[in-house]
Amino acid sequence: MIINQFLVLAALLFSIGIYGVLVRRNAVLVLLSIELMLTAVNINLVAFGSYIQDTLRSGQVFALFVITVAAAEVGIGLAIVVLVFRNRASANVDELDLMRW
């Protein structure tokens, strides 16, 4: 089994996620891009865990933990987005300058 293909694909998906975080102005799209980056990391974890034949299954267990943290982060993040939209009538991140110095 070749592992390089999975690493290259994960790097591609991670880069697309970074692009989405930097370019999109809608806060929901920024959260979606963060999800894409976390999933790209999961590909690496599972591929390496399969490659080194880990008897502890640490790659897959860590992927499960990353999925859990991502679910918690989405819950909090979307609650914040809805709250911001309720207060400011906009969910664009470039219009949120309340804490700008």
């Binding site: 089994m1 592992i3 390089n4 293909q5 999975f6 690493l7 290259v8 694909l9 790097a11 998906l13 880069s15 697309i16 996620g17 692009y19 989405g20 370019v23 999109r24 809608n26 929901v28 799209l29 959260l31 979606l32 891009s33 999800e35 894409l36 999933t39 999961n42 590909i43 599972v46 591929a47 390496f48 865990g49 399969s50 490659y51 080194i52 034949q53 880990d54 502890l56 299954r57 640490s58 897959q60 267990v61 992927a63 499960l64 933990f65 999925i67 859990t68 943290v69 679910a71 989405v74 819950g75 909090i76 979307l78 609650a79 987005v81 809805v82 709250l83 207060n87 969910a91 664009n92």
Partner: protein
Amino acid sequence: MVELTLFVIFGLAAVFGAVSMVWARNPVYSALGLMLTMLSIAVFYVSNGGYFVAVVQVIIYAGAVMTLFLFVIMLIGVDKSEERTERLPVQRPLALGLLALFAAGVLWAGRLVWVTGAPAGVVPVDGSIEAIGTELFRKWVLPFEVTALLLIIAAAGAVALALFREDGGDE
């Protein structure tokens, strides 16, 4: 050979879903593109022996998280088209140049040998529910419990944010 064919098909599907997520003007199409990417990545988990992780990926990500995203997109409106003009003029060609450089670097690094160690591909690691659960509740039981604490904090935080009012008084 079958594995490589599957990788090419679903890898292209994953990249297509990611790119359409970043570029779609309608946020609903973005969510659907990310859903395609998640389902394709579940196929990679299966090909690496991670059966339980693949099931969790489909249920949690493509099911629950994407439904939550679609709910929020429906709540805050889908017809908000954002402007795409760049304010810095040199930014876009500079980004394209750096992207070409980075893609060349990734493709070059993909040809190298990165991992040495155990012989590859003799037996795929067993990622069934039984094997995962055995290690999860034996070796990794402390991080598992900390995860429960994290989820409680996240749920309580979401409820607290939903009850927050501008005038300071709660319901």
